[in-house]
């Protein structure tokens, strides 16, 4: 029989149900009538004939039910009835329903939130043509197992784009931001710089106007920009006149040539590019950035589309043939030969690139997996909780189910009905959970977003996410529903239908406590994990970085040309509230570093950079409050006309001047045109590139001895309100630089931004652990309350015989403590396994840190005491007379 036929009869049944029912009635009635008539004809009395015919028929309703179950769609019908029945039950037990739905909403919502972030970051395809065909291009160093080099120089991307026999399109891109607007009112707009092949490779069509092409990606081409759909709506109200209009970016007039389709915000996942321009426009807009077009800057990510019909393997091998031919001309000649050789010997790799690229992926993949595991544990605990609630309620439904079984329902049928109930509960929970996930998701994005690099994800639930949460709901529904359903139906109808339903509760008393033990074990894992993350964050925050982060403002002038004149620094120094001002090329954790080969005079320079370099002005150490160990710091006299001087940090001094302080020694190098520096001071180690890594050997050179401009940050140490000083700085500087956006931010923010991930992990893991602990305590409370209510009679007798109230309390609390202890014992091996998997994210604490684990156990025990106390108190107030009359 065809599926179509079957479907038709189902549909027919749904729409003509009452008619079909009527037909069946008539038919059976006529059967009965004929049977009776025959029997009368055989000589039976009419009443006897009717009786016998009825007996032969065997129950009108049973026959009907048998026929109904033969029908296609009969299942559907039964399920529909079960659903209606479940809804009625839910409505009748509103408190129970709300508790269950809320518990599940928290569990499923947390899972959905983490999953939707994973989806947005790692799973979702870019909204472009055939995204699954896109390949990301990598360069893999010789000997490396994984492709590592994902960034390429502009000339290499152009060369890749020229390989028409391999690629039908090659797109190079990098995120940036543009300061749009007129002098005095700049607006920083997130954007992207792309190669000419970007849009054609992605296969996008403009909503209006045109998109950028190779013609725009030529030096000297008119400055053109493509804007995103969102920017078009916000800034131009979606007007078609937007195309052809100009915007000012840093004083340059840029023409808007087109709008990208809705939903596409760039190939950088997590970042929004509202304005996109061709890379070749850079030199014209920012002359200082011209080197970005050369071979010396490796900064573009590459997505490519391989020619139709060509396999990835073939494309890769052709690419490598090309590389062996062209590598020499494409690698920066200024790099050391060993470096050049390593790059030339690297091989190209192609990996699926349809999901775009994001620096966040590398950084948050592991944390997200860990959080996903954590929320799954939370969901398991929630399931156990709901199962406990269902079991506790089972006694109330015992009779109902016994009756169902007694009048002929099969066990499978009743189990199915109970499972439908639990699945419905979890689906409702999932519905609420999805809404909750929206909120949690945006909090999460807010946590990983910093003012330096904002993170944007479209977290509108899509089909991925909805499928995930419904699957989670159905699985959990079956998970928490199955055990109670099996248990509730495993009864002898004869016994259960009698009033004494408690006699059948024997086996239940094992399942309930084991659920609580499981909850405690899972909570312990989460608590210990959260403890480790919180301690990691604490360790990083309380770490002495070698300078004082509080009270320092960092001022940056975009597009600053030339050195910052000392007069300007002195002017800021005179502002009220300012304690000390300095300039430097780098500030701690600003995101980029400068390194050079620097050796004690007389020793050959190594090929590789061996020291970090910071050019710093006078009062640098006092402004950052870095400690001078010996010698002096830079002063106003360290100018171009003076002897080139340098400071070294303790790490450098320890390595290169092991015998002596290093002061008075000379350094041989090639920094800013100087070959020789005299060491005039030694500085305490200060972290530069990250809190987790020890301060590297660092050489400080005098800023005002530099011969050419370098990007500079002015650091201002202030007392009192930083906000007031910040606006005073803005007001002083802006009139002097009308065309320049001025950015003022706190050093403490910059430092805090380096531990965004750790803060997120500590907060989320902590939050989930608290949630887990709460759920586990509710579970324990539920079990004990239930036990106490079942033992009312026993407790009453004991009290009547003279048991003290305190003894009764103690016995209940001890029961609870025993379960928690068991849970802890079960949980410890799980902690051992789980904490190993988070080892790489920890800092200053080992995965099996005894203090943390002991703390987690203590927290659990304390919380369990609270949870056990309430039922215990109720037990102690049992009135013996009342209890004995209870039955």
């Amino acid at each position: 029989m065809t599926l179509l036929h079957r479907l038709r009869s189902v549909v027919h049944w749904i729409f003509h149900r009452s008619k079909a029912e009527q037909g069946l009635n008539d038919e059976l009635q006529s059967f009965l009538d004929m049977s009776v008539a025959d029997k009368i004809a055989d000589g039976l009395s009419p009443s006897e004939a009717r009786r016998l015919a009825r007996v032969e028929l065997g129950g009108l309703e049973q026959v009907k039910e048998h026929v109904r179950t033969e029908r296609h769609g009969a299942r559907l019908d039964e399920i529909g009835r079960d659903v209606r029945y479940a809804l009625r039950l839910f409505f009748k037990n509103r408190a129970f329903t709300c508790t269950v739905v809320l518990t599940l909403a928290l569990g499923i919502g947390a899972n959905t939130a983490i999953f939707s972030l994973m989806d947005a970051l790692m799973l979702r395809y870019l909204p472009v043509r055939n995204p699954q065909e896109l390949q990301q291009v990598w360069l893999q160093s010789p000997g490396a197992k994984e492709p590592g080099g994902e960034s390429f120089s502009y000339p290499i991307v152009r060369a890749l784009g020229d390989q028409r026999d391999i690629f039908s399109g090659v797109a190079g891109f990098a995120g940036t931001s543009f300061d749009v607007g007129t002098p005095g009112s700049f607006n920083r707009v997130p954007g992207a710089l792309v190669t000419g092949g970007y849009y054609s490779t992605l296969g996008l069509n403009p909503v209006v106007g045109r998109l950028l092409t190779d013609d725009d990606d030529r030096v000297g081409a008119p400055l053109s920009a493509v804007i995103s759909y969102g920017y078009w709506q916000r800034e131009f109200a979606g007007s078609h006149q937007a195309v052809g209009q100009t915007i000012r970016i840093k004083g340059n007039v840029v023409t808007i040539v087109g709008v990208t389709p809705r939903g596409f915000v760039g190939a950088n996942v997590g970042a929004v590019a509202d304005i996109t321009m061709a890379i070749a426009a850079l030199p014209q807009m920012y002359p200082t950035m011209a080197p970005l077009l050369g071979t010396g800057n490796v900064w573009l990510r590459v997505l490519a589309r391989v020619n139709q019909g060509m396999s990835t393997d073939e494309a890769t091998s052709r690419l490598n043939v090309m590389w062996s031919r062209l590598a020499d001309s494409l690698i920066n000649p200024g790099w050391p030969p060993s470096e050049r050789k390593k790059i030339a010997e690297s091989v190209f790799r192609l990996t699926p690139g349809g999901t775009g690229w994001s620096y966040l992926r590398e950084r948050y993949r592991n944390p997200l997996y860990i959080l996903m595991s954590a929320v799954s544990l939370v969901l398991l605990i929630a399931c156990a909780n709901v199962a406990t609630l269902l079991l506790a309620r089972a006694s109330a439904r015992h009779k109902e189910i016994a009756v169902r079984l007694a009048i002929g329902a099969s066990r499978a049928r009743v189990v199915r009905q109970l499972l439908i109930e639990s699945t419905m509960l979890s689906l409702i929970g999932a519905g609420v959970g999805v809404a909750f996930a929206r909120v949690l998701g945006s909090i999460l994005v807010g946590l990983i977003s910093t003012d330096l690099s904002s993170v944007n994800f479209d977290l509108t639930p899509n089909w991925h996410v909805l499928t995930f949460s419904s699957a989670a709901a159905i699985v959990t529904g079956i998970l928490f529903g199955m055990a109670p359903a099996m248990q509730m139906t495993a009864v002898n109808p004869l016994v259960a239908s009698k009033d004494e339903s408690r006699t059948t509760a024997g086996s239940r008393s094992r399942l309930l406590p084991s659920l609580v033990v499981a909850q405690v074990a899972l909570s312990l894992v989460l608590l210990a994990g959260a403890g480790l993350f919180v301690r990691t964050l604490n360790n990083l925050q309380s770490l002495d970085p070698g300078f004082r982060t509080e009270g320092v403002l960092l001022v940056e002038l975009e597009d600053q040309r030339g050195l910052i004149p000392p007069t300007l620094v002195e002017e800021l120094q005179r502002l009220p509230g300012v304690l000390s001002t300095t300039v430097s090329t780098h500030t701690p954790f600003n995101g980029w570093t400068w390194s050079e080969p620097v050796m004690p005079a007389g020793q050959p320079l190594p090929e590789r950079d061996n020291a970090f370099v910071v050019a710093a002005g006078p009062r640098f150490l006092s402004t950052l409050q870095s400690q001078l160990v010996a010698g002096r710091e830079f002063t106003d006299r360290d100018r171009r006309d003076g002897v080139p001087v340098a400071l070294v940090n303790e790490a450098y001094a320890a390595r290169y001047f092991p015998n002596g302080s290093g002061i008075g020694e000379h350094l041989s190098t090639n920094i800013a045109g100087y070959k020789d520096f005299e060491v005039v001071g030694v500085v305490r180690n200060a972290k530069l590139a990250g809190l987790r890594v020890a301060a590297p050997p660092t050489v400080y050179v005098a800023y005002y001895q530099l011969k050419s401009a370098r990007a500079t940050t002015i650091s201002v140490r202030a007392a009192g309100s930083l906000a007031r000083v910040s606006s005073a700085i803005q007001q002083t500087l802006q009139p002097k630089f009308p065309n320049t956006p001025i950015e003022v931010r706190g050093l403490s923010t910059q430092v805090a931004n380096t531990i965004v991930r750790e803060r997120m992990m500590a907060m989320l893991a902590g939050g989930f652990a608290v949630l887990a602990l709460t759920l586990a305590c509710v579970g324990l409370y539920g079990l004990l309350a239930y036990t106490v209510s079942r033992q009312t009679k026993e407790i009453g007798i004991r009290m009547a015989l003279g048991a003290q109230a305190s003894r009764v309390v103690a016995s209940v609390v001890t029961g609870g403590t025993r379960l928690v202890t068991l849970g802890v014992l079960v949980g410890l091996p799980a902690v051992w396994i789980g904490s190993r998997s988070i080892e790489s994210l920890l800092f200053g604490v080992t995965p099996l840190d005894a203090v943390t684990i002991a703390g987690a156990i203590l927290v659990l025990l304390a919380a369990a005491q609270v949870a056990a106390y309430l039922p215990a108190r109720r037990a102690s107030r049992v009135d013996p007379l009342e209890a004995l009359r209870h039955e």
């Binding site: 006529s30 004929m34 029908r71």
Partner: protein
């Protein structure tokens, strides 16, 4: 006389066979079955009607309301072309099964 249980899976075959000659209503089918089996089989309505409904639903039978011998309203079942085909197939298979069983029993 003690009635025999109708062997599993053979009720459909017998219903289809009975309906080859002429359309019949449920009661008629049950009577004919009893008669043809010399009283060994008596079909229970709780088995008969589900079978009839299933066969109808699968397009092997077609049910039509009509008047019975003594002018009662009754639902008559008629064999469809597809039902006839199924009957042939099942009949052939049954013949082989019966032959095989008989051979085994007699050969032993």
């Amino acid at each position: 006389m003690d009635k025999l249980d109708i062997p599993q899976g053979t009720l459909d075959l017998m219903i289809l066979t009975i309906l080859v000659r002429e359309p019949m209503h449920g009661y008629g089918i049950s009577q004919r079955l009893e008669q043809l089996s010399h009283g060994h089989f008596q079909v229970n309505p709780g088995s008969l009607f589900p079978s009839l409904y299933r066969l109808e639903q699968d397009g092997k039978l077609k049910g039509e309301w009509g008047a019975s011998e003594n002018n009662r309203k009754a639902k008559y079942y008629k064999l469809t072309a597809s039902g006839r085909k199924q009957l042939e197939q099942h009949r052939e298979r049954w013949d082989r099964v019966a032959f095989a069983i008989t051979s085994v029993l007699e050969g032993a």
